[in-house]
Amino acid sequence: MLQFDFMRYAFLSGIFISLICGLMGTFVVARQTSFFTHTLSEIGFSGAAFGIFAGISPLLGMIIFTMASGLFIGISGDRLSRREASISLFSGIFIGLGILFLSLSNKQSNYATNILFGSIVGITLSNVYSLILLSLLIIAVVAVLFRQLAYNSFDVIGSQYNQRNNLLISIAFLCLLALTISITAQIIGSLLIFVLLTIPASAAKYFTTSLWKMIGLTTGFSLLGIWLGLYLAYTTDWPVSFFITLIEAVIYGIALSIHYLQGKNQAHTRSTQL
């Protein structure tokens, strides 16, 4: 399997995608903005379609669209991103725009499926380079702003009063999220990116209460999903994003069951102690 260039590229990309999903996913889940993340990936889809239509690269189109939305939401207030009506509205408008741009650009419909669901066959060396470069950029910014982002994400109300430049930190987070979505879309597709940004971190929080362990576990769960997904996709010729979502769903199911059983156990010990 590894004799093919695109498989090697995909496995290598998986490492970097897991690293940024480990960092960003932990914060996304802490902020309880999973649905907004979903919207942002749909905005990414229309950005990619715009990129094709305008003759710039789909990646650049995605970055422009998601960054602009991130900035808009950041400036107009985080609360907007939690309002269900505005989320539905944005999702709808941007999917519509995506379809419009695709039809205007006269590309075949399989281009749309590529953007929406990802494609491992399509990965080129230059894709890998841009992914690694942008991932390193995200990791570097998160490293410098780590404590500020952690405070801003895990204690939304406290940081609002006690952290300097808290609004700027929120905007920085949304821009980082926009970038993460744009670059991970290449493998898993814009429609399913939010799976990697929400499910592994949601599972990880049932296993540990330490921030760093949470990030580590999230990264591990993402990498497991991507690598095993790639292997299964290679052997079965089924879409990789199907396997990735399935694996993440299984991990989450296991985490939830363990959590449930532990809770039952604890309740049992407590009642026997009484």
Binding site: R147, G158, R164, K205, T209
Partner: protein, 222 residues
């Protein structure tokens, strides 16, 4: 008397309601002052306005401290049962000024000291979401203390606590005031706590404020 906040002739209103008219008061430094008043009189609004006034250069308000030396502990926090972080990691969020990934030796020592002072050391590894109301409030206090504030504003920190937890929290806070260079402004309307712990009471009513000195009631008096 040394003061930490001085307010002079402040008018404050929210849409369709004048909260304060020509409000003047001062908050004594190094003391525990309880800010009291009926519901809706504007205690929280005033506290938040005071915090915002740092950036606006308001001529009606003078602080003897910098904004970074003030910590505000809000009444409501969105910490639900599934909140993922341990008490230790939540309190450590208060060390948010540095850009280093790891805590320095000094920061670790400060964290250890604060956790001990707030009696959280034994349960620091437990999930904050599963902690009791009193433990949560102590964790909020501990997080604020990590910033080593000169002025601490607590908004109804005891509102949802039972009697024991309330007294435990206020004893910890009084001890901080006695031992450190710290001023506490505590928004409350719990008469029992005011009688027992307040050095001063700032009474807000009818758009005005009045500061009175309190004699602390002893155990026997309650």
């Amino acid at each position: 008397m040394k003061t930490i906040i001085e307010v002079k002739d402040l008018n404050l209103s929210v849409p369709e309601k004048q909260l304060f008219k020509q409000l003047s008061f001062s908050v004594p430094a190094n003391k525990l002052t309880c800010m009291t008043g009926e519901n809706g009189v504007g205690k929280t609004t005033l506290a938040k306005y005071l915090l915002r006034s740092f950036t606006k250069d308001d001529q009606h308000i003078k602080f003897a401290v910098k904004r970074t030396q003030v910590q505000y502990v809000p009444q409501l926090r969105n910490i639900d049962d599934e909140f993922p972080l341990s008490i230790h990691d939540f309190v450590a969020l208060g060390l948010h000024r540095s850009h280093f990934l790891w805590h320095s030796r000094n920061e670790r020592q400060l964290l250890k000291k604060v956790l001990a002072e707030t009696q959280l050391a034994n349960i620091q590894k437990e999930a904050l979401g599963a902690a009791s109301g009193g433990e949560k409030q102590r964790a909020f206090l501990a997080q604020a203390l990590c910033a080593e504030p000169k002025l601490l504003i607590l908004d109804e920190a005891t509102a949802s606590l039972d009697k024991d937890a309330k007294h435990k929290l206020l004893q910890l806070i009084s001890k901080q005031v006695a031992e450190k260079d710290i001023t506490v402004l505590f928004i409350t309307h719990d008469n029992e706590l005011i009688a027992r712990y307040a050095d001063y009471e700032l009474i807000l009513s009818a758009q005005q404020g009045k500061l009175i000195e309190r004699e602390r009631a002893t155990d026997a008096a309650i």
